[in-house]
């Protein structure tokens, strides 16, 4: 194995090769002055399906603006790179989009780890970033940033909506199932303090390590404890496996289950039997509110071949985040980041426009959208296979407010946020 005399040529060859392969990629600088938006939703990993739905929502909003001449007269273009449900990749993608592709704004996230990583890079450059669909309380708490805006309800919001009533309605003996990572811990902590505040006793908190596929021993344990209520903060693929196993045991009806949010792309097409207990959502396509029918029709017209025949909460968040950003830019009359941030901080959307039951508004201290939170359960009597949810209650933004976020979130000052004008 000779190395010395061949490697000189080897190195130059490799460099030439690398150069050639990227020249091909770099020719895509468009004419005119379009506004480029970086879409950072996941296309592989456990949130691939939600990421696709998220992206469809963004594209529909962008399409609306482009068809009426763009924003501030500029056509909107997009670039999408897979963030692989991996924070380290999120960092790299954000660096690439900002420094190489020169995007004006970045939109999209389902995983809170990825949202975190992207927002840290975005803050460094001052690029406004919209976290569309990650519902970890830390996103608008400990890890909030001046450039980041969060559009989904978080674990604490849903706990507020669900827990208090459940104690008086179902009973005082509770078991918590907690996914053993930060989101799970935070959500269960909120549930615990609310439940205990209402007089419940937590008999046990069962920790579920991330990546758990077999829940049989936890489910046996629950049967041995025999509580009245089980509050589960289990997410991602773990939750999907758990759901199947609970439905096989018909345990869904034996206890009062309180789940966190169920994302539409995660449940669409499954038998309604798999949807057990009460769970949260921020929007449902069957709302009897003005504009909803037109919204659904537009979705079906734009995505006739998608397996998901009706829009869901993930799509809705992607759509609204993007639309609100465009409106904020138009209101500000500039794409300059500080002006756009200030507009977004004052954002207020009337209920009738947003197709929810209460007015929604941005909390300027945490950058989390304050919106109506809904509790739903499976619609067992439905004949329509799209109509899977039955909305049982809705709670106004004030009643579900994540109170601790105002103190844990410390936004960077405008002076510490670099100016950026795409």
């Amino acid at each position: 194995m000779k190395m010395r005399n061949t490697t000189t040529r080897l190195m130059t060859g490799a460099a030439a090769c690398a150069v050639a392969s990227v020249i091909a990629a770099s020719g895509a600088v468009a004419a005119g002055n379009p506004l480029l938006i970086g879409l950072t939703s996941d296309a592989s990993g456990q949130y691939a399906n939600s990421g696709a739905s998220d992206r469809r929502g963004m594209m529909m909003a962008i399409e609306e603006f482009n068809s009426k001449g763009g924003v501030l007269g500029r056509q909107i273009k997009t670039i999408h790179i897979d963030t692989e449900t991996t924070p380290a990749t999120g960092s790299r993608v954000a660096e690439r989009m900002i420094t190489r592709d020169k995007v004006g704004f970045m939109i999209g996230a389902v995983s809170s780890g990825v949202a975190n990583a992207i927002s840290q890079v975005a803050q460094k450059y001052g690029v406004v970033y919209l976290n569309t669909n990650s519902s970890s309380p830390t996103e608008s708490g400990k890890n909030c940033h001046r450039v980041k805006f969060v559009w989904d309800g978080n674990g604490k919001n849903f706990a507020q909506a669900a827990v208090k009533n459940a104690v008086s309605k179902y009973g005082k003996k509770w078991v918590l199932m907690t996914n053993d990572y930060v989101w799970g811990h935070n959500t269960s902590k909120a549930t615990r303090s609310l439940a205990e505040g209402a007089g419940a006793k937590i008999a046990e908190e069962i920790m579920i390590p991330q990546g758990t596929r077999d829940f049989s021993s936890s489910l046996l344990k629950i049967q041995q404890l025999n509580p009245k209520v089980v509050a589960a903060a289990v997410g991602g693929d773990d939750q999907k496996a758990m759901r199947t196993q609970i439905s096989q045991l018909d345990m869904g009806t034996k206890y009062a289950w309180i789940n966190n949010q169920q994302d539409w792309p995660d449940v669409y097409g499954l038998p309604t039997k798999n949807l057990f207990g009460v769970f949260g959502t921020t929007w449902y396509y069957k709302f009897d509110l003005p504009g909803v029918k037109e919204f659904n029709a537009k979705y079906q017209k734009m995505y006739p071949h998608t397996k998901m025949k009706v829009p869901g909460n993930v799509f809705y968040n992607g759509y609204w985040a993007t639309r609100s950003l465009m409106e904020a830019i138009e209101k500000a009359g500039t794409t300059e980041n500080h002006a756009v941030i200030k507009q977004l901080e004052q954002l207020r959307i009337p209920a009738a426009v947003r197709m929810q039951h209460d007015d929604a508004f941005m909390n300027p201290k945490t950058h989390q959208m304050q919106q109506t939170v809904y509790l739903a359960r499976a619609n067992l009597s439905s004949k329509d296979k799209n109509d899977m949810f039955e909305i049982v209650a809705h709670a106004s933004p004030a009643t579900v407010k994540d109170g601790s976020a105002d103190t844990t979130c410390k936004l960077e000052s405008f002076a510490d946020t670099p100016k950026y004008t795409p």
Partner: protein, 309 residues
């Protein structure tokens, strides 16, 4: 007495889980044991089997006219049985295709073959995504094995015990095949001394093709049996390779009963840690591995293998 009553359900559950783990490891074991090849595509073949089966049970037959109507009219149980037979056969074909590619790496470093199967795993998973989409799906199962039953005040899932029973059956079938048929004897001989087999006039090329096809179809069977419990998504197989790997090593490479016993051990460890120290239930199998390998270099029943070199 109370303690025993409390432990008993977890023991039963652990045994059932253990048989499922053993089932997961079977296909992997055959390929490692005979061909001394770490098949990282095991998980993807597992998922592929499940997707094939789902399409066979609940197909889109609009283009097949009367045949489609006739087939859709068959009972779910019948279609399930068809899927259980046909899907592994289809996956066996895919596996054999992979083996034909593998031939170029024989006689070279083991890492090369390993990386080839890794590439294949990516390709298969991505193909599944393209063909079936990335959304969660449900594989229908016959009513006879779904639902739940009560025993000692606890609810158990019928399907889980059907699956464990099926796992036991597959273990028995594979054992019969290896011990009581001439093919099995050749395969076992090939595992120990490939030159001897060749000298005896056995076509080694065909033997390897057969073993790989068989291993792939066993991966598919495990996928069909397990996805009704785990749920079906393109990357479902990712969670399979590591336990399979681990079971083979704990049991000892090349040992059939080692793998079965290790599978049951892993099942028990996971079940008990899940019940009493649930936050360690994922880590427990790795700790088991480290404990076993620290004291027994070649696992419980391992024989000397060229993979050690």
């Amino acid at each position: 007495m109370d303690i025993i009553l409390n432990l008993l359900p977890h023991l039963v559950n652990g045994l059932a889980l253990g048989l499922l783990f053993a089932l997961i490891a079977l296909g992997f074991m055959l390929i490692v044991g005979v061909m001394e090849l770490i098949n990282l595509a095991h998980g993807s073949l597992f998922a592929l089997g499940a997707y094939f089966a789902m399409s066979i049970i609940d197909p889109n037959l609009t283009y097949f006219g009367t045949f489609g109507e006739w087939y859709s009219g068959l009972s779910l149980t019948l279609r399930y049985v068809v899927a259980l037979a046909l899907a592994p056969a289809l996956v066996a074909v895919v596996g054999m295709g992979l083996e034909i590619c593998m031939r170029r790496t024989y006689g070279k470093k083991a890492e090369y073959g390993l990386l080839l199967t890794y590439g294949a795993a990516l390709v298969i998973e991505e193909t599944i995504r393209i063909v079936w989409g990335s959304a969660e799906q449900v594989m229908p199962i016959p009513d006879a094995v779904s639902g739940a039953f009560m025993a000692g005040g606890m609810i158990y899932s019928n399907y889980r015990f059907f699956a464990a029973g099926f796992g036991l059956l597959m273990i028995f079938v594979v054992w019969l095949f290896l011990e009581k048929t001439p093919y099995g004897a050749t395969i076992k001989a090939g595992a120990h001394d490939s030159e001897m087999v060749r000298a005896l006039g056995v076509n080694l090329t065909r033997l390897r093709l057969l073993v790989f096809g068989l291993g792939a179809s066993l991966s598919a069977v495990a996928g069909i049996i397990l996805t009704p419990i785990w749920g079906l998504r393109p990357h479902v197989g990712v969670d399979v390779v590591i336990p399979a790997f681990l079971i083979i090593v704990v049991g000892g490479i090349g040992s059939f009963w080692g793998a079965v016993i290790a599978g049951v051990m892993v099942g028990l460890v996971v079940a008990f840690s899940g019940a009493y120290v649930s936050e360690w239930s994922m880590m427990s199998m790795y700790l088991l591995l480290i404990a076993v390998i620290t004291f027994r270099t070649r696992g419980l029943f391992g024989k000397k293998s060229s993979l050690e070199l």
